[in-house]
Symmetry: C2
Subunit: 348 residues, 2 copies
C-alpha cells in the first residue's frame, strides 16, 4: 500500500488553537470534517479542552449547567477512593460519569490543504442537554447549497446521540436536533440522493448483544430517517475485528460509493480502511479492505492523549486521489494522500 | 386507587394456545396490543415457545437459520461449565447468547372483551435476520383505515430494534423494517397527527451512561422518524426508579394524551403508571402517576416464568374507563379496568 503522509504532519496541533475561555487549555484538536468552501479547504475540527488545573491533588472536569447553559468546572479530590481516573478520557465518581475534557467544533481554512488559518472563535459550542458533555467528530456533507454537519452529542442525561445542523458560512448554524437516538455515533450522510432517497451511515450500539456495527438508513428530507438496515459487521481475524464505525462522508466513484471507515482490533488499535458500496443500491457491499489503508505508525499516531489511533471524519476525492484528514492519537490532525486505485487493489 | 381486576384473570393462559409446531410448547402468552376490530376486541399477543425437551440433562434453545429462515433447535449440555442458565430467559454460552424461548405474534378476538377466541395460526412469525431470536411486545395503532403494529425484534446479529408492520385484517401484514435502531424497544405510536406530524414514544438505551428513558419522535409518514427528544426519565425514590418504557399506544382525553407506561424498581419489580401529555405539544408533561396504577399483587402476577411483573402493550379508553390488557409474570394475559378520573387523582 503506497500512502503519502504529509511531511508537515501533524498539520494542526493543540497549541495552534486558542482556548474558548481563559481558564481552559486545549488538549486535543483531532477528528475533523472536511469540505471545499469558496475554493479553500475547510476543516471543522473537534477541539477538546480541559480546565486549567493548578492543584495536582485535584481533578477538574467540565460540565454544562442545564439551566444556565454555561460550562461549569467541577472539582474532585484525587485522594477520594470513590473517584476512578484510570481512563484518561473518563472520570467515574459517586456522582456519575464525567468526561475529563469537553469538545466543541472549530473551523480552519486553507488554500493548499496543508497550511491552515484557524478561526479565532469556535464555530459551534455545546448548548443544550443533549450536548451537555460536549460535541464531537463532525462530518460535512454538501447538499443543495447547504453544508450539513452531523456530530456526536454527548450527555450523561441523554447518552450519546447523533445530531444534525446545517450552515452556509460555517459561522451561523441551524440545529435540527437528534437524528439518531442513543447510543449511536459516527454517522455520515451521502452527498446526493440515490433514486429519490438520501442515505446515511451510522453506528448504533446493542448493549444486549454487544454489537457495534455500521447501519444504513434512508430519508426524504435529511432530518427524518427510516428503513434502518445493518450494512456491515466487524470481522473476526481482521484489522476491524472488535468494532467498526463510519468515517468520512462517502464519495462517489465510477465503481460505486467509497466509505473510509475505522476499524478497531481487540487491543483498541484504531485503523482506517475502505468499503465500496453499489452506486444505485448502497446497501450492497462490493468490496472491503483486506488490510488497513492507514494504521498507527508515525510517532504522532502512536503517542498522545489516547495513542495508537488514526480516525477520520473527512476526506476529499479529487483527480483520482483520496485526501484524508484524520485525527492522530486523539491529539493532532494529520494528512495523507492515497490513490483510489491503491485502495481498490487491496480490496476483496 | 380503585382498580377492577377481572375475576376471570388470567383471561388467557399458555394452555389456551396451540403451539406453532408439534415439537414446541407454549410457555407464555402475555404482552399484547389491543384494538377494536369489526366491533370485536382484538388482541395481538406475544406467544413464547420453547422446544419440547425430553432430556433433563440438555438445554434446547430455538434459533433461526438465516439462510433457510427456518427455526432450528440447538442443544447444550447442562454439565458444560461454559453454559450459564441462571437467568430463565437467557442462555449464555461460549457460542454466544441465546433466548431460551422464541416469541411470535398471535391474534385473539372477543365480543365481550373477556372471553376470547384464539386464532388457530400465528399472525406473524419471525422471518428475517432482525427477528432471528423472536418478535415481541406488539402495540397496535389504527390510522387511516390501517392497523399499524410496532414490535420489538430480537437478534444476536442486529440487537434489539423496533420494527413496524401494518395490516387491514390481522392475517396479511406489510413489513416496513426497522424504525428505531438498536437497542431500542417499547415504542408506541399516537393514533393521529398533531399539527401535521405523527408522534411515537420509544425507549432507546445508552450503555455509555446507563440511561433507559422514554423519548418522543415525530414523523410525516409513520416510517421515517426524526426530531428525537428525551421525554421523561426514571425517578429516584419512586416506583419507576430504575428504568421506564412505553406501554399502550397513547389515547386522547379532554385533558391531553394519556400513556400507560411501565416503571421498574431496583429489585426488578414491574409496575404500571400513567403520564399525561399536552394535547397539542406532546413533548410537554402535565402530570405523572405518584404511585402505580397496577402493581404485581395477584398470584398470577407474582409467580410465573418471570414473576413480579405487570406489563402492558395495549389499553382501550371507552366511556371514561381505561381497559388495560396486560402481561402478568411473563406468562399470562390479565385484564383490569380503572376509571380515568381515578388515574388523574393520583397524578402530580
Amino acid at each position: 500500500m503506497s500512502i503519502l503522509r504529509s511531511d508537515r504532519n501533524p498539520i494542526i496541533k493543540p497549541e495552534d488553537i486558542k482556548p474558548s475561555r481563559p481558564d481552559f487549555r486545549v488538549i486535543g484538536v483531532f477528528n475533523c470534517g472536511v469540505t471545499r468552501f469558496h475554493k479553500e479547504v475547510l476543516l471543522l475540527m473537534r477541539v477538546a479542552e480541559m480546565p486549567v488545573n493548578p492543584n495536582p491533588k485535584k481533578i477538574l472536569v467540565p460540565e454544562m449547567d442545564i439551566e444556565t447553559k454555561e460550562l461549569n468546572v467541577i472539582e474532585f479530590d484525587k485522594s477520594d477512593p470513590s473517584v476512578d481516573y484510570s481512563d484518561p478520557r473518563v472520570l467515574k465518581t459517586s456522582k456519575g460519569k464525567f468526561l475529563t475534557s469537553v469538545s466543541h467544533l472549530h473551523a480552519a481554512r486553507s488554500k493548499n490543504g496543508i497550511e491552515f488559518n484557524i478561526d479565532d472563535k469556535p464555530a459551534m459550542l455545546p448548548e443544550n442537554e443533549y450536548e451537555k458533555l460536549g460535541i464531537e467528530d463532525p462530518r460535512i456533507t454538501y447538499i443543495d447549497d447547504r453544508y450539513y454537519v452531523n456530530y456526536n452529542a454527548i450527555s450523561d442525561i441523554t447518552g450519546v446521540s447523533v445530531c444534525l445542523a446545517s450552515t452556509k458560512d460555517f459561522k451561523e448554524f441551524t440545529r435540527y436536533g437528534v437524528i439518531f437516538m442513543p447510543d449511536n455515533k459516527d454517522a455520515s450522510i451521502f452527498p446526493e440522493k440515490i433514486k429519490d432517497k438520501y442515505y446515511a451511515l451510522s453506528r448504533p450500539i446493542s448493549p444486549e448483544f454487544g454489537e457495534k456495527d455500521i447501519w444504513l438508513s434512508d430519508s426524504s428530507d435529511i432530518t427524518a430517517w427510516g428503513n434502518h438496515r445493518l450494512l456491515m459487521e466487524a470481522r473476526e481475524g481482521y484489522w476491524d475485528s472488535a468494532w467498526i464505525g463510519g468515517g468520512a462522508a462517502p464519495f462517489k466513484t465510477k465503481e460505486g460509493w467509497v466509505e473510509i471507515y475505522h476499524g478497531v482490533s481487540s487491543d483498541e488499535r484504531y485503523c482506517l480502511g475502505a468499503v465500496l458500496l453499489d452506486k444505485d443500491e448502497p446497501w450492497k457491499i462490493i468490496a472491503r479492505s483486506e488490510k488497513p489503508i492507514i494504521e498507527p505508525e508515525a510517532p504522532y499516531e502512536l503517542r498522545g492523549f489516547f495513542g495508537n489511533v488514526v480516525f477520520t471524519c473527512g476526506a476529499l476525492f479529487e483527480e483520482g486521489v483520496v485526501k484524508i484528514y484524520y485525527g492522530a492519537a486523539d491529539t493532532y490532525i494529520a494528512y495523507a494522500e492515497i490513490k483510489l486505485e491503491e485502495i481498490y487493489k487491496q480490496m476483496k
